[in-house]
Symmetry: C2
Subunit: 232 residues, 2 copies
DNA sequence: ACGTCTTTGTGAACGCGTGCACAACCGTTC
DNA sequence: GAACGGTTGTGCACGCGTTCACAAAGACGT
C-alpha cells in the first residue's frame, strides 16, 4: 500500500544511543577505519557489545558475520533512521545567555540542524546581532517557521515565559520542542517535548556525592543510570 | 555503630525525579500552599500518582493518610536527600560560548551550586571577566578546588579537550563531572561522570519527527521515554 | 571443498521500573 | 465513639531493557 514498508518501532533506549554510535562511527570513518566489530564499537561507546548488536539489529542486518560492520554503510543507515538525510531547520526563542551560546554554536549546523532564526520578546534585544545572526521579533516567528519548514523549536527563555514560548511555537507550526527552562511545559497531543534541565543534572551529581560521604566506610560504588553516565 | 543508620539505596529513576518534585514543591511553598496530595503533585509533575507516592516512600513515611504531604517538611527531606543542606562549589573548565553562559547563569547559585571559578587554557581568555567573574588559568585549578572544597566540575571545552579537562579535574580532586562536550570521557573508578549532549537531544527529536512523516497515515502517537519528555 | 576461526543476530532469563489495586490509616463529623 | 470520606504506603503483576549464551553464517587458508 504505502511506498515504504512500515518500519518497526525502535525502543526509546536504542534511539537515545544511536546518536552516540553515529558520532563514534563518523569519527572512525574520518580516521580511516572502514570496518568495526560490535566489540570495538561497544568499547568506544562504553556499553555492552550485545547491546550494540541488538541496537543495530533494529535497523536491519547490516553486519557481516566473522567481519563486523562496514562503517560507512552503518553511518548511512543510522543517519537515515534518525532523519538526518536532510537538514532540520531550528528556531530558538530567547536570546539571553543560553540562547546566544546556542546560536553561536557551530555544532548544530554541523550535525544538520541549522539555526533558521533566533527570537526575543525584548525590544532592546531585537535587531542586535548574536553570532552573526540578527535577533528577530516574535511576530516574525510564524512566517519564518512556514517559509523555512521549521519543525523543531528551542526554548531558552526564563522559566515563567517557557509555557508562553511553547504556545507560540505550537501556534507557529512547530511540532518538536527542546526546552531548556526548568519547568514542565504542556503541549497539545502530537507535539513532542523534551526538557533538558541542567540543574537536575547537578542535583543528581550531588546526591551521589553526598551519598559517597555518608557511606565512606562501604566501598561499594554507585552504579550508573541509563542515560549515558558512568561511575566507574 | 555508625552515627547515621545506613540509608537504603534510592533507585536512579527516582533520584532523577526528586529534583523535579523539589522544584514544584518549592514553588508551591512560595505560593502559600502548605499541603499537597500525591495526586496534585503528580499532575504538576506530569507523572503518575502512584509513582509519586512510591518515590517519596523511599525517603521515609512523611505523608499523612487522608491529608497528603506537608510541603515544607517534604522540601526539607528532599533537599537533605539530594545533599542540598549545604552548598556545592562548582568549577567550570572552558570559558567559551557555553562556559560563559553557565557562568553568568544565576540559577546554579540559586539552587545551591555557586561557581567557585571558571578556567581556560587560552591566555587571551585568562583574566577577562565573564559575568563578573575573572577567568583563571588552569594552573590555579588544584588550588581553588582544595581551598573551596570543590567536588563538582563542569566540562565546557571543545570535544578534543574534554578528556584532558576531565583528567585535570580528577587530578585536582574533583569527584563528580558534568560533561557538555559530545564525547565519552573516561574517569577512574569512584568518579561520577554525566554527559549532557544537546545534539543527541536534537537527534532524538528529529527521529520522532521523521517517523511522524513516514507514518502519516497511522494516528498512533509516539510515546515518551523515561527522562522527562512528553509527546502528548 | 572442507574445516577452522571469527563475529553476528537473537532466543531466553533476569532485573528494574511502572502502574494498579487495596488494605491500613488519619481526620472529621455526627 | 462510631461511621465515613479521603489519602497514603505497598504487594503484585506486567512490560521494557539488559545481558548471557549459542547457533548460524561469512571469510579465509589449506
Ligand atoms: N544560561 C545558562 O547557562 C542556563 C543554564 C541552565 C538553564 N538555563 C535556563 O535557560 C533559560 C534561559 O537562560 P538565560 O540565562 O539565557 O536567561 P536570560 O534571562 O539571559 O535570557 C532569557 C531571554 O528570553 C527572553 N524572553 C523572555 N520572555 C520571552 C518570550 N515569551 N519569548 C521569547 N523570548 C523571551 C528575554 O528577553 C531574554 O533575552 C532559563 O530558563 C534558564 O533557567 C540557562
Ligand atoms: N555553545 C553551545 O551552545 C553548545 C551547545 C552544545 C554543546 N556544546 C559543547 O560545549 C563545549 C563548549 O562549547 P563552546 O561553544 O563554549 O566552545 P568554545 O570554543 O566557544 O569554547 C571552548 C573554550 O574551551 C577552552 N579550552 C580549550 N581547551 C581547554 C582545556 N584543555 N582546558 C580548559 N579550557 C580549554 C578554549 O580556550 C575555549 O575558550 C563543546 O564541546 C561543545 O560541543 C556547546
Amino acid at each position: 500500500m504505502s511506498p515504504h514498508r512500515t518500519r518497526r518501532r525502535i525502543p526509546d533506549a536504542t534511539v537515545a544511543r544511536l546518536p552516540i554510535y553515529l558520532q563514534i562511527l563518523s569519527a572512525q570513518l574520518d580516521g580511516g577505519t572502514s570496518n568495526l566489530s560490535s566489540e570495538e564499537l561497544a568499547t568506544l561507546a562504553g556499553v555492552n557489545a550485545a547491546k550494540v548488536r541488538k541496537d543495530l539489529s533494529y535497523l536491519g542486518s547490516y553486519g557481516t558475520r566473522g567481519v563486523g560492520y562496514e562503517v560507512q554503510y552503518l553511518v548511512y543507515q543510522i543517519r537515515r533512521e534518525l532523519g538526518l538525510d536532510h537538514e532540520w531547520n531550528v528556531v530558538i526563542l530567547g536570546a539571553g545567555n543560553l540562547g546566544q551560546a546556542l546560536s553561536g554554536y557551530g555544532g548544530f549546523t554541523e550535525r544538520g540542524y541549522p539555526i533558521a532564526g533566533i527570537f526575543d520578546i525584548d525590544p532592546d534585544k531585537v535587531d542586535t546581532l548574536v553570532g552573526g545572526v540578527r535577533v528577530r521579533p516574535l511576530d516574525e516567528l510564524a512566517q519564518v517557521v512556514a517559509a523555512r519548514s521549521v519543525s523543531i523549536g528551542v526554548i531558552a527563555t526564563p522559566p515563567v515565559a517557557a509555557q508562553d514560548a511553547a504556545d507560540r511555537l505550537v501556534r507557529a507550526g512547530v511540532t518538536s520542542i527542546l526546552n531548556f527552562a526548568p519547568t514542565l511545559v504542556n503541549a497539545p497531543l502530537g507535539i513532542t517535548v523534551r526538557t533538558v534541565d541542567m540543574s537536575v543534572e547537578m542535583q543528581i551529581l550531588s546526591y551521589h556525592e553526598q551519598r559517597r560521604v555518608a557511606a565512606a566506610s562501604s566501598l561499594r560504588s554507585v552504579q550508573a543510570d541509563g542515560s549515558r553516565n558512568q561511575t566507574a
